[in-house]
């Protein structure tokens, strides 16, 4: 088992991914502090309540939204008047949507941006149809009128608010239905009242796809009907709900630690803390620091740990209330002491990063290990009984046998995985550009990343996302990218133009029913149009605040953005670029050997020779595999021939001890693949064709330009034939020779209708002719004459 070198290798390579997180954390801390400043009145916004409420919570997602809008100094308000109706913070409302059923939301925050635009953060109330529940939870049954309180926030402009909404608890709702005069008949009446009244008794955590119960009256009504209690809120949507243990102990631990680290663990956090958490201890460091920062309580938050997260029941209600009402000063004090007491912030961050690195890589390497063992067993299983060693080798060396994990691409895997993981987890958007020459595993690596992420999502570690693959090569025209994307998103067909409009609308309007889309654009260079509008759009959408779109672009050339794209496009593409270097010979060797494990068909030196030869030319893994496969075929054919010979003589009945693939055979296979056919072709050509090539060469040399007319060549040709006592061909025959050679593209000719006036030039190197004809004494004589 080689996990340790692998592990440390990966750990050292994860810096880039970690840096990104680091940056984000800095920003988020800033906005944290400022979130507590509340400024008063706006023009149309009426701050009517007494401005005591500083109850602006800062859950991770809310912070994200704030950051996205690019605000630092914002004015917060308590209520807003839309069309004469006043809406307060924390009030449930109906929000305009793209179809007839309005979205439901709670006003979470109101402010005016620097530009004077009125902004609102809406926290969505999800209908059942709007939730993306992972398979793990199975079917969720909801009654009509039920909504789920979620932690999905979005930036919405207040003018989208349509009408107020009344949210009741389950019992109150039933009472309400009963009280409604139309009610007795049942369902129809319920539906009629559905529009403005609904009930809620469960919440849905989007990040972890977890559904839990809550008491609506308690958390909503009891809090003066204004806003949700941030403490409960923060706790409810902590990400600890994972009940399902991961496959491996290490992976489970690391995965949890990763989540913890990403959320900004306090500096004192350490591996021991993690271990304690695993055992279920109620740990001092365990509570979410964000909750500690903003919930303004002191000791009680300690008790919010993993253990009681799952039983969020009315029984604990009483205590929660006291928490909410608790004095808030000590929390800050505690935080500061904590920070001061242990480490300076800079070192703290560094330490945190390192911690994260190791743990992230532990998770990755655990996954990789799990996968390789699985792959090995799959391969073994796929081999039919009684197959010879050659057949096994051939099968494994086939390009189609792409392993689940690509060897020698751990770096790139970790980097892409890190970026995508962070983005999806934070429900953010990004662009990524991946380049590399063909056959370096770009697409395979991205596929692997997506597979891993999908597994994560199924385990509930990540929010659900949709993966869409577009391939420039598989479209009739670039604009089809719109159609395909829209079809993947909405499941309906549209013309490219219409689809572009729909997508534009889709990505720029907020919506609760939005999961993250991961779009892979393979063969990007084929989507380049004259106006580059397609690429512009694809790279612009992720920059919209509501998009939740991850675009991964793959192309062959490293400098495509600079070379082919407008600045406005390449600027949107961003700086997240990953280049896949061609494989070095060691890497190629590892790749071939990993496939040949347990299959002794190859000499060790042979693999190395192959790797060196291929890496010297292209570094294309497909080529290396093809060469090896061809070599196996050669050996197989030879040993079969030998065994039939031996079989005839009854000397060597078994061929199990057959030959290995040696360096000689690799050399032969490489030559076979890369040899240009030119020399062999000339040697195989007919007498007069050879004379023609020599005459053409002579005519070109004489003329001093690379193109001569057929008449000139024919003249030289006839002269040569005369001198060396060959049959003198007629002009027609020479024209025929010319067209024969032209058909093989040994020479380039014009249309033969031009006859003697057509221009002829050599398409092969002059040296090829010399080399090919050197062994022949007759042509040696002609060439020197």
């Amino acid at each position: 088992m080689p996990p340790n070198p692998q592990l440390s290798k990966i750990a050292s390579r994860l810096d880039k991914a970690a840096k990104q997180t680091k940056r984000k954390q800095h920003i988020s801390h800033d906005s944290d502090d400022e979130a507590e400043d509340v400024v008063e009145w706006g023009q149309r916004f009426d701050d009517q309540a007494a401005s005591t409420g500083t109850a602006v919570s800062a859950t991770p997602s809310a912070r994200r939204v704030t950051r996205q809008s690019g605000m630092t100094n914002k004015d917060l308000y308590k209520s807003v008047v839309v069309n004469g109706t006043e809406y307060h913070l924390g009030q449930a409302v109906q929000v305009q949507s793209s179809n007839n059923t309005p979205y439901l939301a709670i006003i979470y925050k109101l402010w005016e941006s620097e530009k004077g635009e009125k902004q609102m953060v809406a926290r969505w109330l999800l209908r059942q149809s709007e939730m993306f529940v992972s398979k793990k939870l199975g079917e969720v049954h909801a009654e009509p009128g039920e909504v789920f309180y979620s932690n999905a926030d979005d930036l919405v402009t207040p003018d989208k608010i349509l009408a107020p909404l009344e949210v009741l608890s389950h019992s109150a709702y039933q009472a309400h239905v009963a009280a409604t005069p139309l009610a007795p008949q049942g369902k129809k009446a319920v539906k009629a009242s559905d529009a403005n009244v609904c009930f809620c008794w469960r919440y849905f955590n989007e990040q972890s796809a977890f559904i839990g119960e809550l008491d609506w009256e308690d958390i909503y009504r009891s809090n003066a009907g204004k806003i949700l209690d941030p403490v409960i809120d923060a706790e409810m949507f902590k990400k600890q709900e994972k009940k399902k243990p991961l496959g491996k102990e290490a992976a489970a631990q690391a995965g949890r630690a990763r989540v913890q680290a990403k959320r900004g663990r306090p500096p004192a956090a350490s591996a021991t803390a993690t271990r304690k958490r695993k055992t279920g201890d109620s740990d001092d460091e365990d509570a979410d620091p964000t909750a500690a920062l903003t919930s303004d309580d002191d000791d009680e938050d300690v008790k919010y740990n993993v253990a009681d997260r799952d039983d969020f029941t009315p029984a604990k209600r009483g205590r929660r209330k006291t928490i909410a009402a608790a004095p808030r000063t000590p929390a800050r004090a505690r935080r500061t002491t904590l920070a001061k007491g242990t480490l300076t912030p800079a070192t703290a961050t560094k330490r945190r990063m390192r911690l994260q690195d190791i743990q992230l890589s532990a998770a990755v390497s655990a996954t990789i290990l799990r996968r390789t063992t699985r792959m090995g067993s799959e391969l073994q299983a796929a081999v039919p009984e009684g197959a010879t060693v050659y057949e096994v080798a051939r099968q494994r060396l086939h390009v189609s046998a792409v392993p689940d994990t690509l060897p020698c691409r751990e770096d790139e895997f970790a980097e892409i995985y890190g970026h995508l993981y962070n983005t999806i987890e934070e429900r953010n958007s990004m662009c990524m550009y991946i380049s590399g020459v063909p056959g370096t595993g770009k697409t395979a690596t991205v596929h692997e990343v997506i597979r891993t992420l999908q597994e994560n999502a199924e385990e509930g570690e990540l929010p659900d996302f949709q993966y869409i693959e577009l391939n420039g090569m598989k479209m009739t025209e670039p604009a089809q990218a719109y159609t395909q994307l829209w079809q993947a998103i909405a499941g309906e067909k549209a013309t490219p133009k219409h689809a572009a409009q729909l997508l534009e609308k889709h990505f720029s309007t907020p919506s609760p029913r939005r999961r993250t889309y991961v779009v892979l654009m393979d063969e990007l260079d084929l989507l380049v149009t004259k106006s580059q509008s397609i690429m512009y759009n694809f790279f612009d959408w992720p920059h919209r605040p509501h998009a939740k779109l991850v675009v991964v672009a793959i192309a062959n050339t490293m400098d495509l953005p600079e070379r082919m794209l407008n600045h406005k496009v390449s600027s949107r593409l961003g700086l997240t670029r990953i280049n896949f270097q061609p494989y070095s010979h060691q890497q190629l060797m590892t790749i071939v050997q990993s496939r040949l494990e347990g299959c002794a068909a190859f000499d060790a030196d042979a693999v190395e020779l192959c790797a060196r030869k291929i890496s010297a030319v292209s570094g294309d893994a497909r080529r290396a595999l093809d060469v090896c496969r061809r070599a196996v075929e050669i050996v197989e054919a030879e040993s079969a021939r030998e065994s039939t010979l031996a079989g005839g003589k009854r000397v060597r009945p078994s061929e199990d001890s057959g030959q290995l693939v040696t360096m000689m055979i690799i050399d032969r296979a490489v030559k076979e693949m890369y040899a240009s056919g030119n020399v062999a072709f000339i040697q195989n050509a007919s007498l007069q064709q050879k004379v023609f090539l020599l005459s053409l060469r002579a005519a070109i040399r004489k003329a001093g330009i690379p193109e001569v007319s057929l008449g000139d060549v024919a003249f030289v040709h006839r002269q040569l034939c005369q001198m060396h006592e060959l049959v003198i061909p007629s002009y027609d025959q020479i024209a025929k020779i010319c067209s024969q050679l032209g058909a093989t593209r040994c020479i380039l000719t014009e249309s033969s209708i031009l006859d003697v006036h057509q221009q002829v030039r050599l398409a092969i190197a002059e040296d090829d002719i010399t080399v090919a004809l050197r062994p022949d004494p007759f042509f040696q004589k002609i060439a020197t004459s």
Binding site: S400, M473, D626, C746, S751
Partner: protein, 470 residues
């Protein structure tokens, strides 16, 4: 001929003759494969193992078969497919089913760059050849890859859930590679190197630089398996090809044994005849083109009848004579004296250094020569300077024969465009502006050919003969 006498009048002999004729002609025209391939064993082995591995072990394979025209590429492919058919085909399928080989069924799809000029046509034909009888109009709207996946899915659903191996034979591969974006090739190669569908893609082409035509990502997906087919190295092999095509076999061609013996003896006799052997050596020296060799015997074979029950040497010699003769010279052997004079004056213009010229220049040259010589040799008799309109008419005849062609303005620019239209006569837009006397033309003959032409004719006055030889 004694043998003919003994054979005539017998009904079964007649049937034998017509059967032999059919069999031989079929082989000469390439409709039926030759009974044995001469000197093509190694490419045949490679192609067969490539295709059979796709059929038996369901692996995707790609390869290219490269060789000059007439070297037997298609014959190799056909032979490999026949071998595959006899091993895994319908007949063997029943036996194989018992031996638990599920992949005994396979499909062959043949595409040709000459026929399938666009991806869409190719797609439609793929569907047709895979026996998918469904309305394809809907799926043809999408891209090639989508439609192709759709077809493969149909294939999958029609079978037992797995796609049977499909062998793609792409003739004139170079033309297919010139489709925009090469999406046909990309899709095929991409599927060949993925696991779900076992397909083999075998390209057949005459171009030795075909690899350079492939776009880099298409190239990367191609396995670089290049199989070269070479023309026969030895003259004896070349003769062997003709022999195997002409010989009839008593069992496979369904003729009587005695007749077959006689027929084959006659064939050997013809092949050994001095004139035929010399011409075959000639073809070998010039092009090694097997097809050209076989066509030599077509006339003789098609004249097999009750009277001529065996191949006739005379017929073969006649077609040899035709083969040797130059069509252009034959056409020119009957031009009038005036036309010949115009040709000669064009030749002297060329020798004077001008590469293109118009009618005025040619007529001028003609007139100066005539006036010079008519003064000297009045004994010429029939020699007479024709007037310009008459000469123009003669000139137009030459243009019609395409011995004289207008100079295309962008001749070198697109070295293969269609110069089919003769715009001096047609008056196309390009050169219509100038009056036809002033349009620039070129003579399609080399000076040497003009001399040959004049020397071949007997009715040319000595003066003109001398002029041509200057």
């Amino acid at each position: 001929m004694p043998s003919r006498m003994s054979l005539s009048g017998n009904a079964t002999q007649l049937a034998d003759t017509s059967r032999a004729r059919k069999a031989v002609l079929g082989r000469l025209y390439g409709r039926a494969p030759l009974p044995n391939l001469v000197g093509l064993d190694s490419p045949l082995d490679l192609v067969f193992s490539l295709l059979s591995r796709t059929v038996t072990s369901a692996e995707g394979n790609t390869g290219l078969l490269i060789g000059p025209r007439g070297s037997g590429k298609s014959a190799v492919v056909q032979r490999a497919l026949d071998m595959l058919e006899s091993k895994h085909g319908r007949g063997a399928a029943a036996a194989a089913a018992a031996a638990t080989v599920p992949t005994s069924k396979y499909h062959v799809v043949r595409l040709s760059g000459f026929v399938h000029t666009t991806d869409r046509i190719a797609l439609r034909d793929i569907a047709r050849q895979l026996l998918i009888e469904q309305d394809l109009e809907n799926i043809l709207i999408g891209s090639f890859a989508d439609a192709f996946t759709y077809i493969l899915n149909l294939l999958r659903s029609s079978g037992d859930g797995s796609v049977p191996p499909v062998l793609f034979i792409l003739e004139e591969f170079d033309l297919l590679a010139q489709h925009p974006k090469q999406s046909l090739l990309y899709t095929l190669f991409d599927i060949a190197q993925s696991q779900q569908t076992p397909i083999a893609v075998l390209g057949v082409t005459a171009r030795i630089d075909v690899m350079d035509l492939l776009e880099k990502r298409v190239k990367s997906r191609f396995s670089h398996r290049q199989i070269y087919v070479q023309c026969p190295q030895k003259k004896s092999d070349f003769v062997e090809i003709a022999r195997s095509a002409l010989h009839v076999d008593a069992s496979s061609d369904g003729v009587a044994k005695t007749f077959a013996q006689q027929f084959n003896a006659q064939v050997d006799e013809i092949l050994a005849a001095e004139s035929v052997a010399r011409h075959m050596a000639h073809i070998f020296d010039f092009g090694k083109d097997a097809r050209q060799l076989l066509y030599l015997f077509v006339t003789a074979a098609s004249q097999l009848s009750a009277q001529n029950q065996l191949l006739q040497l005379a017929c073969v010699e006649a077609s040899i004579a035709q083969d040797v003769a130059s069509a252009k010279m034959q056409v020119l052997s009957s031009v009038s004296l005036l036309e010949l004079c115009l040709i000669i004056s064009m030749k002297s213009l060329v020798q004077g250094g001008s590469s293109k010229y118009n009618f005025e220049m040619v007529y001028n040259e003609y007139k100066t020569f005539m006036s010079r010589h008519l003064l000297v040799a009045s004994a010429g008799g029939a020699m007479k300077v024709y007037k310009k309109p008459v000469a123009l008419k003669a000139f137009e005849t030459l243009v019609e024969l395409e011995i004289v062609r207008p100079v295309a303005t962008s001749m070198a620019a697109d070295g293969g465009g269609s110069y089919g239209r003769n715009d001096l006569l047609a008056g196309s837009a390009q050169s219509a502006r100038a009056p036809k006397e002033y349009r620039m033309v070129q003579l399609m003959l080399e000076p040497g050919q003009v001399v040959e032409l004049v020397l071949d004719r007997v009715d040319v006055p000595a003066v003109i003969r001398r002029w041509a030889q200057q």
